[in-house]
Subunit: 425 residues, 2 copies
């Protein structure tokens, strides 16, 4: 059933500054896409079934541009190190377990179910190097109804033996097989996923570049997260001026297909220029950047310069799958960055983080993340009645409050691309 | 029923560095106080009834050293300004409503019920200038079973008319009447509450000093939160070297009875010295300090210098009543402070924030916040089984994870001073 109407307090972004609110309004789903938001329902849609969520808040689905599914088992743990040590001590140890399909199945069941129960409708997801486990992850996300890009990770250097592919050729070959096997999902799509430059040889990036061109695949990776990492990349890649070039020289930096780069905490002028020219998306992961002591990305600056950006949870360097929490953290980190470090970049506003969490990240998926006409119909209905106040609150206030206080239990219904994920639970 | 045993995974702090964990252990409540933690239950307690929380996590109740009850209705709202503008635009407008006892009753019902359902067992609570509304708040907290210090707020200058007491004499007189009327609560005690120096005349502080001496009352207020505020205090109090002196010269800075000062984000050497000498408690409110762009307090430094400290939610500059969230925010803000501002003060550890949230703040109430023998029996039982993982986790890991992920729904039982607040809900 792809044609219906939702009645409620409809909130969505047109731009990062323009938050549209239609109280007691209607948003129409026609063939899985938005047919617009209305104060009064047009006659032509009166025959559509109407879900009445009067007094609830209806927002576009939230978008998680960066999340590591295999790290979900240790979310909230081990945040006592910086990036490289944290990878070696906590992350690689966990990811190695996904050679075992039984463990992978149990882990990804939990991840897929929790993601289904969250307000996230679309996500860019890292798997591990294991093609079979990554296919299992894709199957579980497909069954959960989530729309996602999922990547089998590539890494062939500077990694523990159990997590280091034996050659660039083998890594590319496994990737090609995985691409072949992942053709038949409806809502889950493959994305090229070189882990990050330190764990990928030039030869591997070259081979991924070929695959990228042949299959027109988008790319996800990490960029300029941590100062030690950046210095390491400079050593590993003589001849590059900045970290982003290490991807760009292989055509993996938004050159022909979309690319999303997580973090960009310490990107300099030249890197920002190139991100803008290439249309690279920044996946801003504020909680992760605090937890791993990476810093605070100047995401307001990215927005002002017209660099595309959205939010990521970065499980498990981020502890929570909630993009609401990522929104609050983004505002808070931008304020601390302003106070403690650089008063030339203003803090983010509520309008801006809501934009980042919806349309900003959604556009990596094409027309998604808004209720404007023609956008994919991703909708989340929030029932905030248990967040009690003796005050009458305006809808704009209730939306702001949800950014700080929403939990999964406040989600009353969820739709993705017009598909009903759950309703009135 | 004040004699019983709780069986479970018992976790508590002895010092800020020493986190004690007894898996499948016992903590004994005798006459409302802890009779110690045991691996094997001593024979002498075998006759006590035993609540079996095997496999759950049992921690001392959490302590909120700074929370504004009347601001609870606008939690999560209006965080677009710094302190003084925020007070005038959002806070004072709300607090003025508590002249109306009907509004106060509805608001404080919600606050008391939500606090009851949280992991907080003890709190230092601000009311408003209104004695009657503050008595109502005390009554509701008493009925909810919370142990608390609650203060009628004093303010006689630089405040909007509706929230400015007409004279120091009137303010002190109302305070005295309120002290008289609040004698009969069992678990809720009065605390002197000059709002902060900018809103209290010298004459008022003088009069509060007299009340303090006569009734041996503890004191709560705000200190060195925001740079503009600090400059203003300097103007208002010629002759003082630093903000804390404006309280100290009236004996309201821990001179004879305990004092707790919220924030201390920008305290200098002389202020720190005096806090240490006077035994003043710092209520560290990390989320508030980010939300109002105040900064990040060097709380690790306070601990290293032997300054007493605990955590505060600072509703509504903080959005959540959860001291778990305050713990996570404290670690995260200390990391960003280190990365962005001052690498001479290390980030907080898990052990340290757990200490701050329990024994560090608890000691403002005497022997509270630990399970060491003789401490008030405040206990919270956490059921984290819904935070699923395919991994076997150690208790230490599960405790760390709760700091980042706990929600009220994970609380299985709560006891304060031996009193059962709820159990197996």
């Amino acid at each position: 059933m792809r044609n219906y109407v939702i009645k409620g307090n409809i909130c969505y972004s047109r731009t990062r500054k323009e938050l549209c609110i239609v109280e007691n309004g209607y948003v129409v789903c026609r063939d899985g896409k938005s047919a617009g938001v209305y104060e009064l329902l047009p006659e032509s849609y009166e025959a559509f079934p109407c879900y009445n969520y009067e007094n609830k808040i209806v927002i576009p689905g939230l978008v998680d541009l960066h999340v590591h599914a295999p790290q979900y088992p240790f979310r909230g743990l081990g945040m006592d190190q910086e990036l490289i040590d944290w990878l070696n001590t906590h992350t690689f140890v966990e990811e190695a377990k996904y050679a075992d399909l039984d463990y992978a199945g149990r882990a990804y069941d939990i991840f897929a179910e929790d993601l289904r129960n969250s307000a996230t409708t679309r996500a860019c997801v890292f798997g591990t190097i294991h093609a079979d486990a990554t296919l299992l992850l894709m199957e579980k996300l497909e069954n959960a109804g989530i729309t996602a890009y999922v990547g089998k990770v590539n890494m062939d250097r500077n990694s523990p033996k159990c997590l280091c592919e034996e050659s660039a050729e083998r890594s590319a070959g496994d990737t090609q097989r995985w691409l072949h096997d992942s053709r038949n999902f409806k809502h889950v799509m493959p994305i090229l996923t070189p882990r990050f430059t330190p764990s990928c040889t030039d030869e591997l990036l070259e081979k991924l570049s070929e695959l990228q061109k042949r299959y027109h695949l988008p790319v996800q990776s990490h960029l300029s997260e941590n100062l030690g990492e950046i210095a390491w990349v400079k050593e590993l890649c003589p001849g590059t001026e900045f970290y982003g070039e290490s991807y760009d020289r292989y055509g993996l930096f938004g050159n022909s297909c979309p690319a999303v780069m997580a973090h960009c905490v310490h990107s300099g002028e030249a890197e920002m220029d190139l991100m803008k020219r290439r249309g690279v998306f920044v996946a801003h992961c504020p909680e992760s950047n605090a937890n791993l002591v990476s810093g605070a990305a100047p995401v307001k600056l990215y927005l002002e310069r017209g660099i595309r950006a959205g939010l990521g949870t970065d499980i498990a360097a981020g502890s929570s799958l909630s993009i609401f929490k990522a929104m609050a953290a983004a505002v808070q980190c931008s304020k601390l960055r302003w106070r403690l470090y650089d008063q030339s970049v203003a803090p983010l506003t509520v309008e801006e983080v809501f934009y980042l969490a919806t349309k900003g990240g959604g556009e990596f998926f094409g027309k998604a993340g808004s209720f404007e006409e023609g956008y994919e119909f991703d909708a989340v209905v929030m029932d905030d009645s248990s967040i009690r106040s003796p005050r009458e609150l305006r809808v704009r206030e209730r939306l702001e409050r949800l950014i700080y206080l929403a939990e999964d239990r406040h989600i009353a219904a969820k739709f993705i691309g017009g598909r009903e994920i759950f309703r009135e639970r």
